[in-house]
């Protein structure tokens, strides 16, 4: 083995080796296009790998900052959405009541107070007589019936919620067309019972339940829910459980419906009563 050489000598040898190799490489690349391209390719590949790795490491350590930035972005976007929601509510407030060709007038409203915990729940809406709301108007949402307006002040309406044991709505089974009163089951915020369905009407679970349109408060064919199990009451009628589309525990925006021809209907009914007397 060679004698122990000082470290300096080894370093000098290594430096000379590198120097000579670099000189050779330079000569090689300057005298041959093929080798020049090869060195360039190797160099670029090495650089790409080095920078790629560096970037990956850098990205890893900047993840926390990126997460914080994303959280800020999310919050900013939520603010924008809230702004749009408020603008939509304001726009709704200024909207004139819409009169449909079916004799019903539609007034958008917002629930400002509601309850679901008792057996006699009620609602307070932000629209009153000044907005054209009258007593006995229906209240619906995009998913079904919500209640009936019971009293009206200048700016607010008091309504009996569908989640009230005293409220019945005339409803119809889709396949058989059988009609009966639909009432809250008193248990859940999306459960109801369709009563007094004659036994002769064929029925199958999964049928859709609609408003019948017989009550003059609600227009016909508003989807209310899906029929479930039935049980025979007193051997004469079926009582069918219904799962409502609308969960009343999550409700904010509703539409008040006024039947503009309700007085005309009432007048005919009164006249008929007088004739019978």
């Amino acid at each position: 083995m060679p004698k122990e050489r000082p470290v300096v000598s080894k370093i000098i040898n290594l430096a000379i080796f590198i120097l000579l190799e670099i000189a050779s490489l330079l000569m090689l690349s300057n005298n041959s296009q093929l080798q020049k391209l090869w060195f360039a390719r190797i160099s670029h590949g090495f650089m790409a790998k080095t920078w790629g790795t560096t970037q990956a490491v850098s990205n890893y350590f900047s993840l926390k900052k990126q997460n914080d930035d994303l959280a800020l972005d999310n919050e900013r976007l939520r603010e924008i959405v809230r702004g749009y929601e408020l603008a939509a509510i304001k726009a709704d407030s200024s909207m004139r009541p819409v009169l449909g060709n079916d004799g019903f007038r539609y007034i958008p409203a917002t629930i400002i107070k509601s309850g679901t915990s008792s057996q006699h729940n009620y609602l307070i809406l932000d629209k009153g007589s000044e907005d054209g709301v009258v007593e006995n108007s229906g209240i619906i949402s995009s998913k079904g019936v919500i209640g009936i307006v019971d009293a009206v002040s200048k700016h607010y309406s008091y309504a009996i919620s569908f989640l009230n044991k005293e409220l019945n709505i005339s409803a119809r089974l889709d396949t058989s067309g059988a009609v009966g009163p639909l009432a809250w089951d008193g248990i859940s915020t999306n459960g109801a019972v369709l009563k007094e369905i004659p036994l002769q009407f064929k029925y199958s679970p999964g049928d859709t339940v609609y408003t019948s349109g017989y009550s003059a408060i609600f227009p016909p064919d508003i989807p209310l829910g899906i029929a479930g199990e039935a049980k025979v009451i007193n051997g004469a009628t079926n009582e069918i459980s219904v799962k409502l589309f609308q969960d009343h525990s999550a409700l904010k925006y509703v539409t008040i419906i006024e039947n503009t021809r309700i007085s005309e209907i009432a007048e005919i009914e009164n006249r008929e009563k007088e004739v019978k007397k």
Partner: protein, 169 residues
């Protein structure tokens, strides 16, 4: 002895130039004796001068033989750089302590063959990679390395005897 070695060395380099110019039987093989020449540089010559000699030798062959300028120098300098480490590993301390040249007679055919194969393989690996410049498939590189190593080894082992002429006398 030094003069004899230097003279033989120069003759061998000229022989390599001639071989490089005329030994073109197949693209799958090349013949080189330069690594064996560098290996046989006297042990008293340190690594620095061995690298300088190797660089000059490589350049001379590049200039006077067919080839790309720098390719022999590029491949031969690493052989000179690792020469002492390799000799120490294969032959032990004896060549350095007694300042002896490497020869088959002193160190045996097997060890000399092994040393020649190692330095020739190192040289050829660098040379072939740089020469093909990524344009050839791996099988081609492997075949060329194997065949060239075989041919170069046989020629080199004969020439090593010529370089250690003085010792034999």
């Amino acid at each position: 002895m030094r003069k004899t070695f230097a003279f033989t060395y120069i003759l061998m380099v000229i022989a390599q130039m001639i071989l490089s110019n005329y030994f073109h039987f197949t693209p799958l093989a090349m013949l080189t004796i330069l690594p064996a020449l560098v290996l046989c540089i006297p042990t008293k010559v340190d690594t620095f001068w061995a690298m300088v000699i190797a660089f000059a030798t490589g350049l001379a062959v590049d200039l006077f033989a067919e080839g790309t300028l720098g390719i022999n120098a590029l491949s031969l300098v690493p052989v000179a750089f690792l020469r002492k480490t390799l000799i120490g590993t294969i032959f032990g301390v004896e060549p350095f302590e007694q300042k002896e040249n490497l020869s088959i007679k002193k160190y045996g055919f097997a060890r000399m063959s092994f040393a020649i194969i190692i330095v020739t393989a190192l040289f050829l690996a660098i040379y072939i990679l740089a020469d093909c410049a990524g344009t050839r498939p791996l099988w081609f590189l492997g075949t060329k390395l194997g065949l060239s190593l075989l041919v170069s080894y046989f020629v080199s082992i004969i020439l090593v005897n010529l370089l250690s002429y003085d010792d034999r006398r």
